[in-house]
Symmetry: C2
Subunit: 358 residues, 2 copies
C-alpha cells in the first residue's frame, strides 16, 4: 500500500492531465466541480500525497517552519514547543528544529537554513540579544517571529511579556503583605529582561513611596547557586530584608536552600517570590509564589503570527505578479504581542490565603 504514486498516475486514473490534478491540489478555483470530485476520489482511494521535495522545488520553498531554540536545557523550551506544535501541526507545515549553543551560534544555522531554501519562516526563542542575522533574514523577506524577546529596537515581530509590569506586581504583593525591606536578586546583565525586571522592582517601591536601597540589590545569575550565594549575603546582614524578590525561580530555589542551611524559615522569617513559574516551583518546599510566565501561550501566539505573516507575504507576491500595486484594504496584523502574566500565590510569600497551591 501507499505505493509511490505521482500526480501523473492520479491524472491517468482520473482521465485528466497532470495540470488539472495539480490545480485541485492547490485549490485553484478554475476546475470543474465534477472533475475535482473525481480527482479527489481517486486521490483518497489511493492515499495519494504529493512529494514534498518536488513541490518545494517547484514552488521555491518547502513547507517547513524553522524553530530555533537555545541550548535545550530550559524547562521553558518544552512549553514553547508544545505551543508551537499545537498550532503548526494543524497546518500543512512541519517543524524543523534547530538548536543553538554557545559554541555553535545561529549565524551558521541560519545561513544554512536560508541557503538550502528549506524553510518558509522562522520562530526564534532567544535569551540573549537578538542576533543581527535574524534582522537580515527578516529584511530579505523571510518571515521571522521572536519568542520571549521584547526587541523594541529591532523591527522584528515578537511575542513576549511585560517583564517590568510583572516584576512590579510581584513586588507590590510583598509590599501589600507589609514588607518594607525587600531584597532583590538580579539576573544576568546581558539578558534584556533582567533590566526590565529590575525596573519593575524599582517602580513598585517608588509607587509605595520607598527608596531603592542599593544594599538590598544583589547581582545573581539566574542559577540556583547564584541565588544561594546572594541569599547568604542577605542573611548575614545586620538587618536582613524581610522579603526577597528573585529574578527567576531557579534563583529562588537557591534562596530556599540557603534558608534551610541556616535554619531560616520561609515564609515566616523571610518571604520569597520568584519569576517564571517553572514546573518544580509547585513542588519545592514551601511551594513558590511566583509570576506565571506563559511559555506555552507564547509559542502558540508566535506560531500563529508567523503563519499570518507567511500568508501575507504570499498574497502580496501573488498580487505583484498579477500587476496589482496598491494594497487594497490591507489587513492590519499586530507584529508585537504582549501576553499577560499573573502572580501565582503559593506559600513562600506568606500570604494568609493561598490559591492554586499545586
Amino acid at each position: 500500500m501507499t505505493e509511490k504514486l505521482t500526480i501523473r498516475d492520479i491524472a491517468r486514473l482520473a482521465g485528466v492531465s497532470k495540470s488539472t490534478v495539480s490545480r485541485v491540489l492547490n485549490a485553484h478555483s478554475n476546475v470543474d466541480a465534477a472533475t475535482r470530485e473525481r480527482i479527489l476520489n481517486v486521490m483518497q482511494e489511493h492515499g495519494f500525497m504529493p512529494n514534498a521535495a518536488a513541490t518545494g522545488l517547484a514552488k521555491g520553498h518547502n513547507p517547513l517552519i524553522g524553530l530555533l531554540v537555545p541550548a535545550l536545557t530550559w524547562e521553558l523550551v518544552t512549553d514553547v514547543l508544545q505551543g508551537v506544535a499545537a498550532v503548526i501541526e494543524d497546518t500543512q507545515y512541519e517543524i524543523i528544529l534547530y538548536s543553538a549553543s554557545p559554541e555553535k551560534d545561529f549565524s551558521f544555522i541560519i545561513d544554512r537554513m536560508l541557503a538550502t531554501n528549506m524553510a518558509v519562516g522562522l520562530l526564534a526563542l532567544l535569551h540573549t540579544q537578538s542576533p543581527q542575522h535574524l534582522v537580515e533574514l527578516h529584511e530579505r523577506g523571510l518571515p521571522v517571529v521572536l519568542i520571549n524577546h521584547v526587541a523594541s529596537r529591532a523591527n522584528l515581530p515578537w511575542v513576549g511579556i511585560d517583564n517590568a509590569a510583572a516584576a512590579s506586581a510581584a513586588v507590590r504583593h510583598l509590599l501589600d503583605l507589609g514588607h518594607r525591606r525587600i531584597g532583590c536578586i538580579l539576573g544576568l546583565p546581558e539578558i534584556p529582561c533582567t533590566h526590565d525586571r529590575y525596573q519593575g522592582y524599582c517602580q513598585a517601591l517608588h509607587e509605595a513611596g520607598l527608596e531603592v536601597d542599593p544594599a538590598l540589590v544583589l547581582q545573581g545569575d539566574y542559577t540556583c547557586e547564584g541565588g544561594r550565594h546572594c541569599a547568604r549575603q542577605f542573611f548575614a546582614m545586620d538587618t536582613p530584608p524581610t522579603a526577597i524578590f528573585a529574578s527567576n525561580d531557579l534563583t529562588a530555589y537557591g534562596v530556599l536552600q540557603a534558608a534551610e542551611e541556616q535554619g531560616i524559615r520561609i515564609p515566616e522569617d523571610v518571604a520569597l517570590v520568584g519569576f517564571d513559574d517553572i514546573p518544580p516551583s509547585a513542588h519545592v518546599q514551601p511551594p513558590l509564589t511566583t509570576i506565571h510566565h506563559p511559555f506555552k501561550e507564547m509559542g502558540r501566539h508566535a506560531a500563529q503570527l508567523l503563519l499570518t505573516l507567511i500568508n501575507q507575504r504570499d498574497v502580496y507576491s501573488n498580487r505583484r505578479k498579477k500587476g496589482q500595486v496598491a494594497p487594497v484594504e490591507e489587513q492590519i496584523t499586530p507584529s508585537h504581542i504582549i501576553l499577560p502574566t499573573h502572580l501565582v500565590v503559593r506559600k513562600s510569600c506568606g500570604a494568609t490565603f493561598t490559591i492554586n497551591s499545586i
Copy 2:
C-alpha cells in the same frame, strides 16, 4: 550576500560543467584533484549551498530525520531532544519534529511522512505500545529506532534501560537500610515499563527472602495525584509500610504531599524512593532519592544508531546497483541498546550519607 547561486553558476565560475560540480558535491572520487580544489574554492568564496529540495528530489529523499515524540509534556522530552540534537546537528541532517497526542495518533503522521518522502529515518519516543505502523515502516526499509522502549517482540531497533534491574536496585537500597515492609505504587498498566518495574520490586524482595504482600502494592497512574491517593491509603493502614517505592518521581511527589498533609516525616517515618530523576527531584523537600534515567544519553545513542542504520542501507543499496550480491565483512551493528541506570541517593530514603544532593 548569499544570493541564490546554483551549481550552474558555480560551474560557470569555475569553468566546468554542472556534472563536475555535482561530483565534488557528492565526493565522487573520479575528479581531478586540481579541478576539485578550484571548484571548492569557488564554492567557499560565494558561500554556496546546494538547494536541499532539488537534491531531495533527485536523490529520492531529503536530509531529514523525523523525531516522533508524545505529547510534549514530559520533562524527559527536553533531555531526549538534547541528546538527539547533539548528534544530528553534527551531520548533514536536520531534525523534523512530529508530536503525537491521544487524539492525533502517529499513524497519520507516519503515513504522511512516508508518503511525502521527506525523511530518511525516524526516531520515535513512545510511552505506549509500539504501534504496528512503525514496524511496517521498518519492514519497508525506513530506518527506525525506538527510544525508551524495550520492544523485545517487535524486531525494531531500540535503546532503553533495564527497568526491572533498576527498580530492583532501588528496592534493594531500601532493604539494605533495614526496611522490611516496603510499599509499591505501580504505574499505568498499559505502559510496558510498569510491569518491568514491578518485577524488579518483586525480585528484590525475593532475593531478600521476603514475600510480596499484595496489600502493599497499590495501583497508581504515574501522576502526582495518583501518588497522593495511594500514599493516603498506605498511611491509613494499621501497620503502614516503613518505606515506599514509587514507580516514578511524580508519584513520589504525591507521596511527599500526602505525608506533609498528615504530618508524617520523610524519611524519618517513611522512607521514599522514586524513579526517573526528573529535574524537580533535586529541589523537592526532602530531595528525592531516585533512579537516574539517562534520557539524554538515550537520545544520543538512538540518533547514532539511526545514522548507522541509514548509512548501512545506503551502502547496501549502492552495492546492489553495482551488481554485488554478498556482503563482504559486514559490520555488525547492535540493534538493541540497554543503557545503565544508577541510584541517586538524596535525603528521602533516609540513608545516612547523602551524595549529589543537588
